[in-house]
């Protein structure tokens, strides 16, 4: 038998593509009938599901192990991993949960999953020096307006208009139980990695808009205007101080002055 035929057959039995239902050939049936085949089937499924459980700890804490593993099982068959870096597996899990019937009673689950994903991305992102307040203070006001500040490679931010996603997420991360009294309002979150560990803080909507504009390459002047358009009452100096304090911006690669 050709090696590729063997691999097509075994792969189809281990992680069947959705909708695939061709009956297995005789040689494959003979393998599936052996008790040892379950070892491979279980190891493949467990590897993917364990990775999702590890990469979505706040979702896991909210829904419990059985629910999480059932959802992960369904996700794995639609979106199996593409390479061996399982620490990075599950990029589409938030969108999957938002479209999943069993999650309909927890409409905030997707937003919480997005923050778990932000943590993973922040954890694995490239290193870079953070922008220092002292450097910014040295810039002339007219030069400041034209600066194109870049988010740090490890900075992630999310605005959630419908749910207190940040509070829900960080309480689960901290092991704090559900709070029925939690004010139900939109919230943003900022995750950064100023040293080794990922840190987080709440981020107002205008802050999310400011970082979106910086990421898109806007000048500081334009980014500030977009932030104020989102929330005319935004405290811009406080926002910039927050971004500097948390290490959300990267130092320019070449000095501008």
């Amino acid at each position: 038998m050709r090696l590729s035929d063997f691999q097509d057959g075994l792969a189809s039995a281990l992680l069947p593509a959705p909708g695939a239902s061709t009956p297995p050939p005789a040689w494959l049936d003979a393998l599936l009938a052996q008790p040892g085949f379950a070892v491979y089937r279980n190891t493949v499924a467990k590897g993917c599901i364990d990775a999702l459980q590890a990469n979505y700890p706040a979702v896991h804490a909210l829904v419990g192990t059985d629910w999480l593993r059932a959802a992960a099982h369904a996700f794995v068959h639609q979106h199996p991993p593409s390479d061996g870096r399982l620490m990075d597996y599950g990029a589409g899990f938030a969108a999957f949960l938002e479209g999943s019937g069993p999650a309909a009673s927890m409409p905030y689950l997707g937003a919480v999953a997005r923050l778990d994903r932000c943590w993973t991305e922040a954890h694995l992102a490239a290193d870079a020096p953070t922008l220092q307040a002292a450097w910014l203070a040295q810039q002339a006001p007219e030069a400041l307006a034209l600066l194109r500040l870049q988010p740090h490679p490890a900075a992630r931010w999310q605005w959630c208009a419908e749910h207190p996603a940040y509070q829900l997420w960080q309480r689960q991360r901290a092991g704090v139980s559900w709070d029925d009294q939690l004010p139900w309002q939109g919230e943003g979150a900022l995750l950064t990695r100023p040293q080794d560990a990922v840190q987080w803080s709440p981020l107002p909507r205008a802050g999310c808009a400011l970082l979106d504009a910086c990421a898109a390459g806007a000048t500081f002047e334009d980014a500030a205007a977009q932030a104020l358009q989102t929330d005319p009452g935004a405290d811009l100096p406080a926002l910039v101080a927050l971004l500097l304090h948390t290490g959300a911006l990267r130092a320019p690669e070449t000095p501008l002055n």
Binding site: D8, L15, G36, F37, P81, D83, G84, L124, P153, A154
Partner: protein
């Protein structure tokens, strides 16, 4: 001394801090490179801190050398960067497959040892060694299935890969024990036929019986201390080959580090017991 490494341990995140402080003679640490193929961040910083104090071995599990396709170019490039950054003492992989047509199956999957498979794996090992600019060792797998259509015995297959590519061999004694048990063959026959001169690393690990089938099927679970019959095979092997860097593998039900260090000390004693070594 041709090789300073004696017995090593798998490095687990919960043991990072304690691992940094270990001073045992000949100690080295092994990791799966997949857990460190990040663009930056704390994982790489941890590994570099360990590497500054101890030799490190990279034991890959996802290069998919036995897939009927070249290894993923991006993955191989990331691995090459990690090798350059960490300068590992040892690099190893498996003659198994996991990535196939864009989907990754987290396991080490079997295949019929045909002439075609031999040519493909030899080509994939050569490509890997060219890019990493160093030889790698490949590990004898654990078997759970009777597969038809082999053209080669496993020991001859591995010897031929060594001959064609110059790779080394990682002999996992627990895998030998389990495969012989599961397939109804004799571990001692396998070891007698194994091309021991190519061994550059040895693995020892624990196993357990299948929860449903009991002793009829032994699982390579890495969640228990090394079993006594595996130690016995290992001691006989070292008496024949002389010392080789030996890893105690533990990936699940991980005990406190002192327990692992005690188990590691047993392998270290076997490797440094001069009376047990073959006469020159």
């Amino acid at each position: 001394m041709p090789h300073p490494l004696t017995a090593g341990l798998g490095l687990k995140p919960q043991h990072y801090d304690a691992a940094l402080r270990c001073t045992a003679s000949g100690l080295w640490w092994e990791v799966h490179p997949e857990n460190y193929l990040a663009d930056g961040g704390p994982r790489l910083a941890w590994l570099e801190a360990i590497r500054a104090r101890h030799p490190v071995s990279l034991h890959g599990v996802s290069l998919s050398l036995a897939a009927d396709a070249p290894p993923d170019a991006a993955h191989l490039q990331r691995l090459a960067q990690l090798v350059q950054r960490i300068e590992p003492a040892l690099v190893s992989e498996h003659p198994a497959w996991s990535a196939w047509r864009g989907r990754y199956h987290p396991d080490l999957l079997p295949f019929p040892r045909t002439h075609e498979a031999l040519a493909r794996i030899a080509s994939n090992i050569a490509r890997t060694q060219d890019l990493l600019q160093r030889p790698i060792a490949i590990e004898n797998p654990t078997h759970y299935l009777q597969i038809d259509g082999h053209d080669w015995s496993e020991t001859d297959f591995l010897a031929e890969l060594v001959r064609r590519t110059g790779c080394g061999l990682l002999l996992d004694v627990n895998n030998v024990y389990l495969s012989a048990h599961n397939l109804g063959t004799r571990a001692s026959d396998y070891l007698d036929a194994f091309p021991v001169q190519a061994i550059t690393e040895i693995h020892l690990a624990g196993h357990h019986a299948d929860p449903r089938l009991g002793d009829a099927l032994l699982i390579d679970s890495h969640d228990a201390p090394v079993a006594e019959p595996v130690w016995a095979l290992y001691e006989r092997l070292i008496a024949r080959t002389g010392p080789r860097p030996t890893l105690i593998e533990r990936d699940d039900a991980i005990p406190p580090l002192p327990e692992l260090l005690a188990e590691r000390e047993r392998a270290h004693s076997v490797l440094t017991n001069k009376e047990a070594l073959p006469c020159a």
